[in-house]
Symmetry: C2
Subunit: 494 residues, 2 copies
């Protein structure tokens, strides 16, 4: 009887089957119950293998494998037929095992580290909702959140008003600023391009981020037209040298339009003297952009915001809350002092299919046309939820603690044999050499430095193969390979 009903069901279904081009269109094709179960099981792995281990110093920070070996371990090949859930969960385990644990308490390799549980939740929400932030109709919450966050960041810069947008990276924010400054300098470039115009020139310190060169190249300005300004022994731009470079550009008949100051350089953590630079910009009518991707977070701290003294005089600021504040990669804002709609005028292309003007709501909330992107992620949201959770005081504590940890590290380095500080840090970048016993008695001279240059890569290799610690190193301005340690993770304690 049952079998009979079942047979009739099948016949009935076949009869009602909607078949187009050989594809049966009835019902969804995904097994949502199985899918949900898979997500649940994977989440358990994520919780146990990543989140719960994030503060566990006894775990390895990385499980090093050489590329060729790792290729063999991971089953990278994509085949015609899919894999079972069991196999896929194993694959997820492997991916986690061989990935670097950037939230491990011994990960000091980059300018991000640690885990923030609130930001993480926000990120899970947005991944599940899968929004794109361009119009209010598809991203009502995330657009309002972005507006609120930008407003708050502007307050901390010290502007009365302004505008802004979140971008996929500080490098992209710097590009935005460069293009915006160029638009302000000569709006016709948007339509006419640079051909036939005098050579545009911009200025940045020798210690600025490499994205300045990338931006100049990408924007058709040319890397040679970034005039690098000398820095002092601490890595800070020398205002008098900036003045000289501007004069030089003028004499050459080129068109200076922009100064990119840095608040918190990548390697040394140096802050350019913004107030003096702003004076020069005012005098020569140049746009002042401050790349505070790294140093911007100090604005949150009443104690340390003086590092950015004068920032309120900037025309634009790049600031990445994904670094010291732990908002998660990527969370990068470009903030603009102008409030006359410059950002929109500079970037808009007015696509009729997306930014219809006959919508039933106030289309000034459709801010997507301020972007070079079309689809764009809601990166402001994770910062917002974290801020709601910790309060400004909690964010301030992160900054104060990171800088106190840097001070502590400096003092420890001074005490320990074989460690040599490169310079007293202004910010959280602690730069030092490790001098191995074999070199400690050697005379200072080219041979010593040549040998010392080879030490950091070897130490790093050993630490990585052991999985004990990850730490960045680099040569810089004639100084041989040294370590740069930045301790920002709230999971790290002395």
């Amino acid at each position: 009887m049952e079998a009979n009903t079942c047979k009739q069901d099948v016949l009935q279904k076949k009869k009602n089957a909607i078949l187009v081009d050989g594809v049966i269109l009835n019902g969804p094709i995904t097994d949502s119950k199985a899918g949900e179960k898979f997500v649940e099981e994977a989440c358990k792995i994520i919780m146990e293998e990543i989140i719960q281990k994030a503060d566990d110093v006894t775990e390895k920070v990385c499980e090093w494998r050489a590329p060729e070996t790792l290729k063999k371990i991971l089953d990278l090949e994509m085949r015609d037929t899919g894999e079972s859930h069991q196999k896929l969960l194993q694959l997820c385990q492997d991916v986690i095992q061989y990935s670097v644990k950037t939230n491990h308490p011994r990960f000091f390799n980059q300018l991000y580290a640690g885990i923030d549980y609130y930001s993480l939740v926000a990120r899970f929400i947005t991944e599940a909702l899968n929004p794109s932030v361009y119009t209010y109709e598809v991203s009502p919450v995330f657009l309002l959140v972005e507006e609120a966050v930008i407003k708050k960041m502007i307050e901390f810069i010290g502007w009365e008003d302004g505008d802004g947008i979140f971008n996929p990276g500080g490098s992209v924010s710097n590009m935005y600023a460069m293009n915006l400054a160029r638009y302000k300098f000569c709006p016709e470039i948007k339509e006419k391009g640079l051909s036939g115009l005098p050579r545009l020139v911009l200025f940045a310190s020798e210690e600025c981020h490499y994205s300045m060169k990338k931006a100049a190249s990408f924007l058709g300005i040319g890397t040679e037209n970034v005039y690098f300004v000398k820095t002092d022994e601490r890595g800070k731009m020398i205002p008098e040298e900036l003045e000289k470079q501007v004069q030089r550009a003028r004499k050459e008949g080129s068109a200076p339009f922009l100064v990119c100051a840095t608040a918190g350089t990548t390697v040394l953590g140096a802050f350019d003297p913004l107030d003096k630079i702003a004076d020069i910009c005012e005098k020569h009518d140049l746009w002042l952009h401050v790349d505070a991707s790294w140093g911007g977070s100090a604005l949150i701290s009443r104690k340390h915001r003086k590092l950015l003294h004068g920032i309120q005089r900037a025309d634009s600021v790049a600031w990445n809350p994904h670094k010291m504040l732990l908002a998660g990669i990527q969370c990068c804002a470009l903030l603009v002092k102008d409030n006359s709609g410059l950002l929109k005028k500079c970037y808009s292309a007015k696509a009729a299919y997306l930014f219809q003007q006959d919508k039933f709501y106030d289309v000034s909330y459709d801010t997507g046309d301020k972007s070079i992107q079309c689809s764009r992620r809601p990166d402001a949201f994770k910062f917002w939820l974290m801020w709601k959770a910790l309060g400004t005081t909690g964010l301030e504590e992160r900054v104060n603690r990171a800088l106190a940890l840097a001070r502590y590290l400096v003092e420890e380095i001074k005490k320990r044999e074989g460690f040599q500080l490169l310079l007293e840090p202004e910010y959280a970048n602690v730069c030092f050499w490790y001098v191995p016993p074999s070199l400690r008695k050697m005379e200072d001279g080219p041979e010593f430095w040549q040998k010392l240059h080879q030490v950091a890569p070897v130490v790093k290799e050993r630490m990585m193969k052991k999985g004990s610690m990850m730490l960045g190193y680099q040569p810089n301005q004639g100084k041989v390979n040294f370590f740069r340690q930045v301790v920002i993770s709230p999971q790290v304690g002395c």
Copy 2:
């Protein structure tokens, strides 16, 4: 007794406290147990409110509130002190409630929709691991995965070899291609910029994506130097018109360097005739870029890949697996035929702090210098895990089914009173007018079209306020507002 031990503990701790600048540095400052619990509780909400409801047609696709109202509902203000976990979980609930459910079976508003459980898991993993993809040392797995995915995509394009990179959006991929073509045309532009050079000119169809104009403006080429080529009645570039435009540019003494063909236009879903366009590019020595952000996924289908006939002759291709294949926003590749390192030569800035050459492994795996970004998300990974799960056959089914659903929709539209098809679609974009009863007997003429133009916004408003469906509309090339419906979600069935 216990209290006493406790007191001694506190005294002991105070004695050992490491205090720097008023900050106690002992131990981590986060309560990891409470944090983990918060993540668990939030994940439960995400599972119940987003993931489990993703295939539920009885839910609303959106809970519309006007901006001012929504601002009042959401507690957007960031304060000095943080909120309780309970308050934060409520906030998460609110965010979800008032966000558009882009994975709802009635969301047809953009070129993405639906939910893929595997891609979602991959996204949760990467959010928890918080990697940045630039060097093998910090992203070993994700760099190898990106390499494998790019290799596979290149196979489907039909190139023997090639290179590529994942970017935050198809718009950014198009920019990359434009810059790459320019670099190939004249490598000195990287250093010297465009000043003093003849006017560079590129060609794209009238129906191309608006990112072409954004790119031309951003790259300093200028929007006026995008020469728009006429399309036929189906929205496809007319090769003879392209030839004319190239001739015109040459006569003007400008420097044509690039043709951007489109495989799957945004509004009509039209495919430019790539083979004929490639002939013209060959003849005039122009770089051929194909913006297949939308149409590229058809390459996976043996049945439909003929839409992109000739694509193997392109020099570069933009292809977004986050659209029809559901890899999740954003997942966008730029693929390049050149395998001589052009991408790296064009983009590299050789930052010494990141791309050290004295590393202990093969630094050719440090591919980050191919990018304009510094930190970059591992977007290839979600596509990879999804591909592993579904197999090529599963991806192919998605494409075949989307196009079969489009055929089905077309036939239904033809049958129903008051619905009028704009044109027979080539791809998944079904464009139609809804003619309300009041207009059905009206004579064809300017008044009719003027009135019809006002219909779509009103219908859309009603649907959104009801939460029943979201559907895009736009005017296009002299045609009044019409709906564009794209059915790609595997959760949709007839």
